[in-house]
Subunit: 413 residues, 2 copies
């Protein structure tokens, strides 16, 4: 069963607001077994809306719209529905009393303008709105379903979960979907594909997507089948097959983050962490503490941007900076060891590099970064070459540092 | 001139990813004078893509797509372009050497799979990608323009800003557009509107938009007129009128950033800066050093997440923490003074707060934040109440700290 989503509003097509409603409805409908090929955003124009409604109703068996159901003049979705489906608006006394009651509970008299909201296209059913005055509208026509929902996210979400999805499930649908995401780090997309692709055959109804981001490449698997169990089994089979091919690069699944996984490893092993940051200048600390509860294992650290700060705050030997430079194995090791001592933590991570855009040399081009890791028994440092873009270098360096620690704790070579 | 955006990827139509690319491009094209009636997201299917491309090319004079240009098998946008425009793919040696060089700089051999990325539809121009291997593709046909960009946000954004917009502006459009953005901080949107709106009359063809973000509210002025000079004059007139009404909140214009402005003020006054971060845990240092050349005024700082770190690394009196708590005026002052001394800087900024989601009390709810500023002659601390969302609290706190320093240097009350 195909579905389409249409989100309505000038604020969307001018880019003033990022559309989060669309993704919410897509997730809900996908889980309910619908396949979505297209979603559309359309501005506040009756003609454009009518065009979008007609096209979607031609292509899909379910169309869900959000937005434009409020009481004010710029809320014109109902007018576009009336034109598209050629139906009159009918007054619903029960809807009006419900709205009046809602206002009464807040001690406010209902503004007259809200009377509009009790008008529904002839033959439509409505989905009650527990938190607002615009009800959801549902029209069934020639075996297809058209649903208009309010645009306020919490109202829309409540109606989808409490009304729309149960209604759709009460109708017969045909397919079930299961999905999972394997999260990798420390390997580029194309190299990962070289590990995974050879000999890989995707079963009917199974899709694999490579989604690169700063922390690494996510591998998303979606499987469709006739039963939920079958979809789940297909999904798991592919995840297992992929994991065999690139296990050491996979740090987690689904909602896992690298900083969350590393934090959990520290907690599980009763260890603490500090940092010594030069080029990242706080990025690493910020990433580690984006996990709520990070104070249970993160102590703090030094942002040692200037060489004097490295020397005076973390005890880096000035001769190292003189002889090897601040971007060197020796300096990364000294920074990590200095932070571990100063902050009294089990582990310390250090980052020193040339973030760019300036400061590169032939020997040490922009992107050259040394990451150090000090622990009770040893210290290591590893050299990385990131790109030329300052901010992405710093984010990549932070994740590379976390991955170095993950491998140390798990003893992955 | 009408434009349409098409964002591509199963992760969008299944709702696994919220589409932020679409809003970014909508904003950029709207600023460049385009009118957008429809945007579409489409799954990874050549047939669906072709259908979306054809429809958009029929309705609009500019179509911009994102996604599906990577080297792996699920990246099929180029195949859909070939089918839609009936053009062969041509190998571009210069693109391949650029990609090879990028890998070489990172000390990695280019995976063979990346050769695909040097293939472009016949007759297409390309937009270089400074941070990734997928170039932008631009096809001009029958007076219309089709552009395919990579889906990785930072790559897409760089190409749009550095390549696409200048290219579009170099073509003749029927109207001349001038725009400018006044950047404010330290005041909420509705309060700003109360200052600006009374007595303000917008001339014909002039639009003013309030764009709230983490660092403050941007005021975007767009003026359309028959000549560039007239558009520019209308734009300037409104900017001057607005500046009169809220001057002390305006820190810059257009590409100015608060961290850049503060950095320049430090340089101009021959001053240096250090930080002491508790809840922000590096966010402030990272923001300051996102400016290239920040090493000329930024020394470093302490991430003092644990109370022991505040005491031992910055000399905060344990009695302060015992008596007033770590989130207090006294602690913020002691942290700033401690950092200024430890790092030997002219100024030091400190941040200590309850980022959330846990840790709030009745007296100090989540979002309560103290920001301190130490300088040669005095120290001050100010209390803020941000929201309940951890990461946005930390970003807001960093900008509030920078604004405190800007006002100190400029002596704005």
């Amino acid at each position: 069963m195909n579905a389409e989503i249409i989100t309505i509003g000038d604020e969307l097509v001018t880019g003033f607001r990022v559309d989060t409603n669309c993704a919410f409805i897509c997730r809900q409908l996908t889980s309910a077994g619908y396949i979505i090929n297209f979603t559309t955003s359309v501005g506040d124009s009756i003609e454009s809306m009518e065009e979008a409604f007609r096209l979607a109703m031609r292509r899909a068996s379910l169309v869900v719209t959000t937005g434009g159901l409020g009481p004010t003049d710029d809320d014109i979705t109902k007018k576009a529905i009336v034109k598209t489906f050629k139906r009159n608006l009918i007054f619903h006394e029960d809807i009006l009393s419900e709205i009046k009651e809602r206002y009464a509970r807040r001690g406010i008299e209902m503004p007259a303008i809200n009377q509009n909201q009790a008008l529904l296209p002839q033959g439509a059913r409505f989905f009650p709105n527990k938190t607002g005055s615009a009800v959801g509208i549902c029209i069934a026509e020639q075996g297809k379903i058209f649903v208009a929902l309010p645009g306020v996210p919490r109202e829309m979400e409540q109606i989808v979960q409490d009304e729309l999805i149960p209604y759709l499930l009460s109708l017969k649908t045909t397919q079930n979907i299961s999905s999972t995401t394997l999260k990798t780090t420390g390997i580029v997309e194309s190299r990962l594909a070289e590990l995974i692709a050879p000999g890989l055959k995707l079963e009917q109804g199974v899709k694999l997507a490579y989604l690169p981001g700063y922390s690494g490449v996510n591998l998303r698997i979606i499987a469709r089948a006739d039963t939920p169990e079958e979809a789940q089994a297909k999904c798991n089979a592919l995840a297992t097959e992929i994991a065999k091919k690139c296990d050491k690069y996979i740090f987690g699944r689904d909602d896992d983050t690298l900083e969350g996984i590393v934090g959990q490893l520290l907690l599980d092993n009763d260890k603490t962490l500090s940092v010594a940051e030069s080029c990242t200048a706080g990025q690493l600390g910020m990433t580690i503490t984006s996990v709520s509860g990070a104070s249970r294992y993160f102590v703090g650290g030094g942002i040692v941007y200037a060489n004097e700060a490295k020397i005076e705050r973390l005890g880096v030997d000035p001769e190292i900076i003189e002889k090897d430079g601040a971007v060197s194995e020796e300096c990364a090791l000294a920074m990590a060891e200095g932070a571990r001592q100063a902050y009294g933590s089990s582990y310390a991570l250090s980052v020193t590099g040339i973030a760019g855009p300036d400061g590169g040399t032939e020997d040490k081009p922009v992107g050259t970064t040394w990451i150090g890791l000090a622990s009770a028994h040893s210290s290591i440092a590893k050299k990385y070459n990131f790109g030329t873009e300052r901010n992405s270098n710093r984010i990549r360096a932070s994740y590379a540092a976390l991955e170095l620690l993950r491998r140390e704790i798990l003893d992955i070579k």
